[in-house]
């Protein structure tokens, strides 16, 4: 799959990497839309060494592609958004990303519904 990585001059490179596998407690998400945040350029600029590049995106929206061991509340195909663990691998600038189940949440089909 394609993944975008950011260096300490905010230069971005696209590279081919294997689709990651979710560990226990994690959700693999096929990313439809990635958000961006100011920290996505700040952290590389402030902390990364020359030549070091990271997928710094953390805001994920897409479909659950697989779940790791022990994950409850999500199954393949669910529409979700997720906060990826900052500074860890497999962020949102890619075709697939990894998030912890407790920082993943369902996106409702409708913005309002009858009921409680």
């Amino acid at each position: 799959m394609k993944e975008a990585v950011v260096d300490n001059s905010t230069k971005v490179t696209i590279r081919d990497v294997p689709i990651p596998k979710p560990a226990a407690g994690q959700v693999l998400i096929q990313i439809v839309v990635s958000g961006t945040n100011p920290k996505d350029w700040k952290l590389p600029k402030w902390f990364q060494k020359d030549g070091e590049s990271k997928n710094t995106g953390d805001d994920i929206a897409g479909y659950v592609a697989a779940v790791g061991e022990g994950v409850v509340g999500f199954r393949k195909g669910d529409r979700v958004a997720a906060f990826h663990e900052m500074q860890s691998d497999h962020g949102s600038f890619a075709e697939y990303g990894i998030a912890w189940d407790y920082s993943t949440f369902h996106l409702p089909e409708k913005t309002s519904f009858e009921g409680k």
């Binding site: 799959m1 394609k2 993944e3 975008a4 950011v6 905010t10 230069k11 971005v12 696209i14 689709i19 693999l28 990313i31 439809v32 839309v33 990635s34 958000g35 961006t36 945040n37 100011p38 920290k39 996505d40 350029w41 600029k45 995106g57 953390d58 805001d59 994920i60 929206a61 897409g62 592609a65 697989a66 529409r79 979700v80 958004a81 997720a82 906060f83 663990e85 900052m86 500074q87 860890s88 949102s92 600038f93 890619a94 075709e95 697939y96 912890w100 407790y102 920082s103 993943t104 949440f105 369902h106 996106l107 409702p108 089909e109 409708k110 913005t111 309002s112 519904f113």
Partner: protein, 246 residues
């Protein structure tokens, strides 16, 4: 239908807003709202974090909200509730005018809570001038500067993934219950808020090119071009996307 594009504007920024309001400033939760006035200053009211903070604060019945904003004041106007005393102070008139504007908005009321979603330049010092001695300020960047003696509590949203060690070494020896647990209840609460319509996404702008657009998006963020908007990327727009399947 809530689109995935809208969904992508929410996770980091909305959790930052929630953590700051409830875990750092210790304000009443949306499901146990305030019963009397709690003035709240929100610096950077049109930023994603600031706007989500205002939305959540309103659910917590926290008023009056004094939002600091500039050219995106029109957007912030739609978030606040003037009938509850909320107001906007324009930062573009300079530090003195901001401090004076906040004091005027407060009147006789005491400011004990401030959310600094900008945390750059003079924001922390301006807040220091209007905050009571026993007040609390939370800021989203460690670079913020406040006056000596001000109770500054950093909101670093990564804390939901970095559980703190247990202070007691008690029954749950490995770690304390804290921001991770807060995250685990608040992310699903966003789902419920979105479904019921009391919580909404931040405005967005799709940057073309998918992954090839990441560099443009980050450079525009760095240049300070984003105003009341979150840049998002549609991954399917990327060159050669969709070749690998699981």
């Amino acid at each position: 239908m809530l689109t995935k594009t809208e969904g992508a504007t929410i996770p980091l920024a909305a959790m930052t807003a929630a953590l700051g309001l409830y875990q750092r400033l210790e304000l009443p939760l949306p499901f146990r709202p305030a019963k009397s006035d709690i003035p709240l200053l929100v610096y950077g009211g049109s930023s994603a974090v600031g706007a989500f903070a205002i939305k959540l604060a309103r659910q917590s019945n926290i008023h009056p909200i004094i939002a600091i904003a500039g050219k995106a004041s029109e957007f912030v106007e739609k978030l606040i509730d003037r009938s509850k005393g909320d107001t906007i102070v324009d930062y573009r008139k300079g530090d003195e005018a901001v401090v004076e504007g906040i004091k005027q908005a407060l009147g006789e009321k005491k400011l004990l809570h401030a959310y600094d979603a900008t945390a750059e330049g003079s924001t922390g010092m301006n807040i220091s001038k209007v905050l009571e001695k026993n007040g609390i300020v939370t800021a989203v960047l460690p670079t913020v500067k406040v006056a000596d003696g001000v109770d500054l509590r950093q909101t670093m949203v990564g804390s939901v993934h970095q559980p703190e060690p247990s202070p007691t070494g008690g029954a749950f020896k490995e770690r304390a219950l804290g921001d991770a647990e807060f995250g685990s209840i608040f992310f699903p609460l966003f789902t419920r808020g979105l479904a019921h319509g009391w919580f909404t996404a931040h405005p967005h702008e799709v940057v073309p090119g998918g992954l090839e657009g990441v560099e443009t998006a980050l450079q525009n963020l760095e240049a300070g071009k984003a105003s009341a908007v979150k840049y998002v990327l549609r991954i399917a727009d990327s060159k050669d996307a969709g070749q690998d399947k699981i």
